[in-house]
Amino acid sequence: MKSSVGIVIVSHSPDVARGTAEMVRQMAGAEVQVAWAGGNPAGGLGTDVTKIVAAVNSVWSPSGVAVFIDLGGAETNSEMAIEMLDASRRERVVICNAPLVEGAIMGAAEAAAGSDLQQVRRAAEEFLRT
């Protein structure tokens, strides 16, 4: 069976990131790989490029990885993290322009159904428009 798209949650708060990942796992089921990265390198509020790279690699699937972010720096740091991935992986990681919790859950449900990366992204990004 083709492996499903991996999901990464990036939040300034480790608690928000961990909690969101937990909700995603509960709702999307065990077949979807979910990882989170939250907090700055010193453990405070913020995001950490190294942790984001590790999270993406930990749920890596040939189908790709969808990244969900909260505010400002989470996006900049996620973009930087994607550029730091192996060239072969970079093209198959997308940042979804969607609300963190709702977007990640919609995206993960789509991933669980075996959809491809673009379908996962679309499902997440369309959440607000439905």
Binding site: N40, G46, G72, G73, T76, E79, M80
Partner: protein, 218 residues
């Protein structure tokens, strides 16, 4: 001293000056950020300064171009806010573009590349209340004045442009970065990223101007 040794020594002095300035201004930068953002700019850059100081020996042993790139990576991985990738990408681009044959013009070209990296990373431009409001006019002033051939004058005009660039962020409403979330409330405050950019330029120019004065005395 050979040019390479002199460059390396200048790099080390600039590195310490920048880190010292950032650490001394942590409270001030955070206070600026509290007014319009999340208040962590000072602490974030302090963490970058700490990482750079810890690596200063390793960095100072490298050729300047590689030292700049490596410093950029350290900033990216130590900061934890958007300023990490922004300043980090700037240093990485500056290192990659650092000219083997240095002239005012080739340095200005490298600075342009560095500022361009910030523009791309932040998908931003001048007038959006960001560090670009200091960096872009500062580099432009450096280039214009460097054409006349005097590095000292070029650095001085760069600093004046940085000062007015910072002041110009005050009446702006932010459309990029965290300050964009506070909308109208950002008006009347200078941008913390622009303030830290000005601080770094002053620290670097201060070292270079002082060493020129010394050379002239010797």
């Amino acid at each position: 001293m050979s040019t390479v040794a002199r460059d390396t020594a200048a790099f080390a002095s600039c590195l310490h000056a920048v880190c010292g300035a950032l650490q001394a201004s942590e409270a001030e930068l955070s206070a600026l950020d509290r007014a319009i953002g999340d208040g962590d700019h000072g602490a974030n850059l302090n963490r970058a300064a700490q990482a750079l100081i810890e690596a200063s020996e390793e960095l100072s042993a490298l050729p300047v171009s590689l030292a700049l790139e490596r410093a950029g990576m350290l900033v990216v991985t130590s900061v934890g806010g958007a300023s990490g990738p922004l300043y980090g990408s700037m240093l990485i681009a500056l290192g990659r573009a650092w000219p083997a044959l240095r002239s005012a013009e080739t340095v200005a070209d490298a600075l342009d590349q560095a500022v361009d990296a910030v523009r791309k990373r932040g998908r931003s431009t001048v007038g959006e209340k960001t560090m670009l409001d200091v960096l872009v006019p500062a580099v432009r002033a450096f280039r214009l004045s460097a054409a006349s051939g005097d590095l000292g004058e070029a650095l001085q005009s760069m600093l004046s442009a940085a000062d007015s660039g910072l002041a110009a962020t005050k009446p702006l409403r932010a459309t990029k970065g965290r300050a964009a979330y506070v909308g109208e409330r950002a008006i009347g405050h200078v941008d913390p990223g622009a303030a830290s950019a000005r601080l770094c330029l002053h620290a670097v120019a201060g070292v270079l101007l002082a060493s020129r004065r010394e050379e002239r005395l010797l």
